[in-house]
Symmetry: C2
Subunit: 139 residues, 2 copies
């Protein structure tokens, strides 16, 4: 029985996720766990955003994001700006300290990944990045 491409993807994805979770859960790199890192990255690269927008971006519940952003604020990595149009809403902006922490984290993550991918051809690296992006972009 030969596997179809989608069957291959399906099982490889499952293994992949399992490993990745195991490797990154509860293992903070510096001061940021996986969730915090992504939030900071998003705020940093796509501009300030509110809780709702972030929750939608990551397909998570607003309550989860609310707690995580509160933690980031507590650590001084983001601050809130009230939305002038809407008294209920605010937007989160990254602080200098947040930028520094993000850069440090990124550095460490890249070092790990670079090592993991050291034997890949640069063509495969590019292709993998493109395909992941494509997968993520599919609605």
């Amino acid at each position: 029985m030969t596997k179809t491409p989608i069957e291959s993807i399906e099982i490889e994805l499952a293994v992949f996720i399992r490993r990745f979770i195991a490797a990154t859960t509860n293992k903070k790199v510096g001061n940021l766990d996986r969730a915090a890192y992504l939030l900071l990255h998003q705020i940093s690269s796509h501009g300030s955003a509110g809780v709702k927008a972030l929750a939608e971006e990551f397909h998570l519940d607003m309550s989860t994001i609310s707690r995580q952003t509160a933690a980031l604020e507590q650590k001084g990595y983001v601050f809130r700006i009230p939305d002038p149009q809407d008294g209920r809403a605010y937007s989160l902006q990254i602080t200098e300290s947040g930028i520094a922490e993000l850069a440090l984290n990124k550095q460490l993550r890249l070092a790990y990944l670079t090592k993991h991918l050291q034997d890949w051809t640069s063509e495969d690296q590019i292709r993998f990045g493109e395909l992941l992006h494509k997968f993520n972009s599919t609605p």
Copy 2:
């Protein structure tokens, strides 16, 4: 500032994992959660195995696997065979019921993935599966 391929992979992976976890955590497909599905798949496709071997395969703690396999046994999807060489060890084998449940799950997961990848060329699908496999195979 243009991103290097590894920088792209790094952030796409982070987003990807986040989404995948959100989409599959606490969402059992039929009777199997993500962890149980993978265990059954492993036992089914690579033959019977003990708790230790499974823990190593998934890079998880033995205690975690021990509980998950106990749950699978409880549901009647696997059964234990004492290791004749080693009184401490068991191997886990899948039951008929386990095979059926696994097949059902796989079906549902494939359906979802097929839909998600419906606009991809078959070449991209193949390549994505290969690269994920390569990533997983890298020690």
